[in-house]
């Protein structure tokens, strides 16, 4: 997203069943090294190819918490800065490895006066472009609309 080109959903027009514009991201080993630094998590599972080979894993493991960050990004890019993800829940399903592409998707399940609920998933994109194994599912969120910050922010 860039400020100059961003266009966001019309909050007043959101309805149950609306599909959230999906987010896809290929997670390279370089991305994972950057992520390890950004989170102060230097566990060898996430970048050390010799270490993961010893553990008989097919490659360095993407930190599962990345899935949560990508889900928030998908919602924020769709709804714009006048929105705040209040709750986010996800269940881990399968390991994801360096070089794989993730696809985040979701639909609106409830619409309230000042918030929406959404159901989401994160899958690994298969070679033919279809949804492959699940990385995180189920996943859900409650998003406050018409506000850039949460209820704990100063008035």
């Amino acid at each position: 997203m860039s400020e100059a080109t961003a266009s966001f959903a019309d909050h007043a027009a959101i309805a149950v069943g609306d599909v959230i514009p999906p987010l896809e991201r290929t997670i390279t080993l370089t991305d994972m090294v950057a992520y390890a630094g950004a989170t102060w998590d230097w566990h060898k599972l996430h970048y050390d190819t010799a270490y993961v080979a010893e553990k008989k894993l097919p490659g360095p493991i993407v930190d599962g918490q990345v899935f949560g960050a990508l889900l928030v990004e998908m919602l924020q890019d769709w709804l714009g800065p006048q929105s705040f993800v209040r709750e986010l829940e996800f269940t881990f399903r399968n390991l994801v490895f360096a070089g794989e592409t993730l696809r985040c998707a979701g639909t609106v399940t409830e619409v309230g006066e000042d918030r929406i609920s959404v159901s989401m998933s994160v899958v690994v994109v298969a070679e033919d472009g279809s949804d492959g194994r699940a990385a995180a599912a189920p996943a859900s969120a409650v998003v406050l609309l018409g506000t850039p910050d949460g209820p704990g922010a100063p008035a």
Binding site: S2, D31, A38, W40, H43, D77, P81, E87, E89, P151
Partner: protein
Amino acid sequence: MSLLTDEVRALEGQTRVYTAPEPFGAAAGRYFGLAIGDDNPLYSDPDYARAQGLAGVTAPLTLVCETNQYAGLPMDAEGYAGHTWQLDIPGTRQVRGGNKYTFHRRIRPEDVVTATWRITSVTEKVTGSGNQMLIVGSTATYTNQEDELLAENAETIIFVGLEKKA
């Protein structure tokens, strides 16, 4: 034999508290945005953030639940420098169940984060394939130097028995 021994039961209610040695900092949010490929200007452009009604730049919401910045712990032999319960359940493999985050407000660069971790539940189940399973639930509550509530993180760790229950 049950995985839910008296020693394991005694884990419930255990608490660990960590306070970051420094404020969160604007660079932390901007760097995390770069690392995950999120170029939202809320994390890098103070003028844009102020135009939206924020005091200035903020961090991507999940970062407070993902970073080990607050822990101030040394790296272990495998490079990990964050909070763990250091649970060793023989005859099991550990898998992550999931997380439930509740965000109360956006992180500001001047926030000094305190994380309070607590084991909330320890339960035992048997999987559909007959393996014993120990489920450890814990929560982290993140506050700042003014004791303002920033976020909560409920997480589940599962220890799956390697042998089927007799």
